[in-house]
């Protein structure tokens, strides 16, 4: 067992902090994942869905006018063009296919704003697997359209009325469901978080982003970029684009949500900058950096971008931050909004507010020189879902 335990961690982070009932399911999942992750047939089928269904490869676009405005050569990795409007589908197709290979009859998931839920619904429909998504009751009201999208695709959306009726309650409820139905059900986690093997598996499924960038930037520049910048909620789009460059001489910037400021109280943080300010802890099955009070109670986090609004972060990012391989940084709500408008106006691309945090960091850091000459920004998703929010800001 010592051997297996070893591989569940990234340094001291990661692991499997889950109820006993789930351990066999995690073992089964790990086993299947290890079996299929390098399997030729599995990967061929996954590649097929990524290409023909999801629309990969996504372009690497040279943002000429934005480059001029910010004073550094900027390439945008266009995950906004992936089916469903975000990188999330890369992961749900991978896990969905694995669930199919495992013979699971049912997929469950949690969702906050509905991006991951929508991606699950898409994968569920494609693979013909029954899908149910837990969503905080408050979120179902705020994100009515995403609920409807999921329902159209045959997914059952279950409003969670306990606790704060938001994402964390949805996670709790999904975990409970998994505990109760572990034999027939695959729990589809939406980021590089949760117990092993999820952080590793989701990273691998998302690595298609970075692999494409390797080829694309070589074609365009004949060399790797000086830096890569990605927004970081759970950290899946970041790990997806970072991982294939881990061994390369490329600086990696994980941009968290600075919210309305770096303050915290005993109960809540005005931000979601977990890598920047979180402390070592255990949440949702993993040891990682966590926004918590002195007793270890988890704080309510905050961000204008629902997808970044999370009190934890993927354990591998926590590890990479500790060893100095990536630089944690953050952009505030107001900075993200400015970057959002820049990209709309200069490039005709409406980015997700999540992705706008990455753009915002380049906006302020380009002049310092720390990003080098060529920077790749991961545009993790499109911003159509955020129009209402941005419109509200205007008033």
């Amino acid at each position: 067992m010592a051997n297996k335990l070893e591989s569940t961690k990234f340094g001291k982070y990661g692991g499997q902090f889950v109820p006993e009932v789930l351990m066999p399911a995690l073992e089964e999942l790990t086993e299947y994942y290890e079996k299929f992750k390098d399997d030729a047939i599995f990967n061929e089928e996954l590649d097929y869905y990524l290409r023909d269904f999801a629309g990969r490869p996504s372009p690497l676009y040279f943002a000429k006018r934005l480059s001029k405005e910010y004073g550094v050569k900027i390439y945008l990795k266009r995950e906004d063009l992936v089916h469903g409007g975000a990188h999330k589908l890369n992961n749900t197709l991978g896990q969905g296919l694995l669930a199919k290979y495992m013979g699971k009859k049912r997929i469950i998931a949690e969702t906050g704003a509905g991006q991951h839920g929508t991606a699950c619904a898409m994968a569920g429909a494609t693979f013909g697997i029954n899908t149910e998504v837990y969503m905080g009751a408050k979120d179902t009201v705020r994100q009515r359209m995403n609920v409807y999208r999921m329902e159209l695709m045959g997914t059952k959306v279950i409003p969670v009325k306990s606790g704060s009726q938001t994402l964390k309650d949805a996670i709790n409820e999904a975990m409970r469901d998994w505990v109760a139905n572990v034999e027939t059900t695959h729990y589809m986690i939406g980021s590089v978080v949760g117990p092993h093997p999820f952080p590793t598996m989701v990273r691998d499924f998302q690595s298609v982003i970075g692999k494409e960038v390797r080829t694309q930037i070589m074609e365009k520049e004949g060399r790797f970029p000086d830096s890569i910048v990605a927004c970081t909620g759970g950290g899946s789009n970041a790990m997806g684009i970072f991982y294939p460059f881990i061994e390369e001489d490329v600086d990696l910037f994980a941009v968290e949500a600075g919210g309305s400021g770096m303050k915290t109280t005993d109960k809540e943080a005005l931000h979601s900058a977990t890598l920047c300010t979180g402390e070592d802890g255990v949440l949702h099955g993993m040891r990682t950096k966590v926004l918590q009070n002195k007793y270890g109670q988890i704080l309510e986090s905050s961000s204008i971008a629902a997808g970044l609004d999370y009190a934890g972060v993927g354990p591998e990012l926590a590890y990479l931050a500790d060893i100095g391989r990536l630089k944690p940084c953050n952009s505030m709500d107001s900075e993200a909004l400015l970057a959002f408008h820049d990209l709309c106006r200069l490039e005709g691309i409406i980015p997700a507010l999540e992705s706008s945090h990455a753009v915002a960091y380049v906006r302020k850091a380009a002049a310092t020189g720390e990003l080098g000459d060529i920077v790749v920004i991961n545009i993790s998703g499109r911003g159509d879902k955020d129009l209402q929010t941005v419109m509200g800001m205007r008033k």
């Binding site: 306990s162 255990v282 007793y295």
Partner: protein
């Protein structure tokens, strides 16, 4: 009092143990003292007190609500240990909490605080044996039992490890799913009791709410029953709480006694 001693006592008396869970601080620290007293009067053998955590993934809505009331009532680990310390019970007390609160306090300090305040055992629902080496060490050094859970899904290999490491009692999860009152006893419960071959006492929890169920479980070979949501329900209703806790405890204890005879 050590847990093992309690079970030895009960064995001598041919009684099944009744382990009662409530969440410390639900709805106030003062209330917990009153409710614990009532439970002990009702015949509870071991008190399991929840130290409330903000994200209790292994608990069902009933207990989650109790945890929320406790947090809103101001319960913290510091107050928790002070409250326990003031209880002075003559039966074992077990703390049930999530790992982050232990981790954050420091494993050593947490175990010491337990020992100092009269706690005999720790249950951590999100800490499987794979992750528990350090806490186990701290518990041993402080003469505290680390109580492990086994589930119907637990494989033979894992079961062996858990039985080798667990002390105090083995917490048998009666069914897949989270805590909460159910109207039936799952067939799988009997099977699980048979599968768990150990000299450590076996207590079955999750979903037990009345004397009949308790009796059936003890009859099936368990050494004790753990009841939580049914008590927390009474606290949630908030009417005549102490008396009704005592009455339910009595009913359950009678079920557990009758069963062995």
């Amino acid at each position: 009092m050590r847990i093992s001693e309690k079970f030895r006592q009960l064995k001598g008396r041919k009684e099944g143990a009744l382990i009662a869970y409530i969440c410390a601080g639900d709805p106030t620290p003062a209330a917990t003292k009153e409710y614990v007293t009532a439970l002990v009067r009702g015949g509870v053998d071991i008190i399991e007190l929840g130290l409330p955590f903000s994200d209790p993934v292994a608990d069902g809505p009933t207990i989650q609500a109790g945890i929320q009331r406790a947090l809103e009532g101001g319960m913290t680990p510091d107050i928790f240990f002070r409250t326990i310390n003031s209880l002075k019970l003559h039966i074992p007390i077990v703390v049930m909490t999530y790992y982050n609160l232990i981790f954050k306090r420091g494993l050593e300090k947490f175990a010491k605080d337990c020992a100092a305040s009269g706690i005999s055992g720790i249950i951590v629902p999100d800490l499987p044996p794979e992750e528990s080496d350090e806490l186990l060490q701290a518990c041993k050094e402080n003469d505290i039992d680390l109580i492990y859970l086994v589930a119907p899904t637990t494989t033979k290999e894992r079961m062996d490890r858990i039985l080798a490491e667990g002390t105090g009692f083995i917490y048998l999860v009666a069914r897949l799913g989270v805590t909460g009152v159910r109207s039936d006893v799952a067939a799988s419960t009997g099977e699980l009791i048979k599968r768990v071959k150990t000299n450590t006492p076996k207590a079955v929890g999750f979903g037990i709410s009345n004397g009949q169920q308790a009796a059936r479980i003890i009859r099936a070979g368990a050494d004790g029953v753990i009841v939580g949501s049914a008590f927390v329900d009474i606290i949630a209703k908030g009417e005549d709480v102490a008396a009704r806790l005592e009455a339910l405890a009595r009913e359950l204890k009678e079920g557990a006694e009758v069963a062995i005879n």
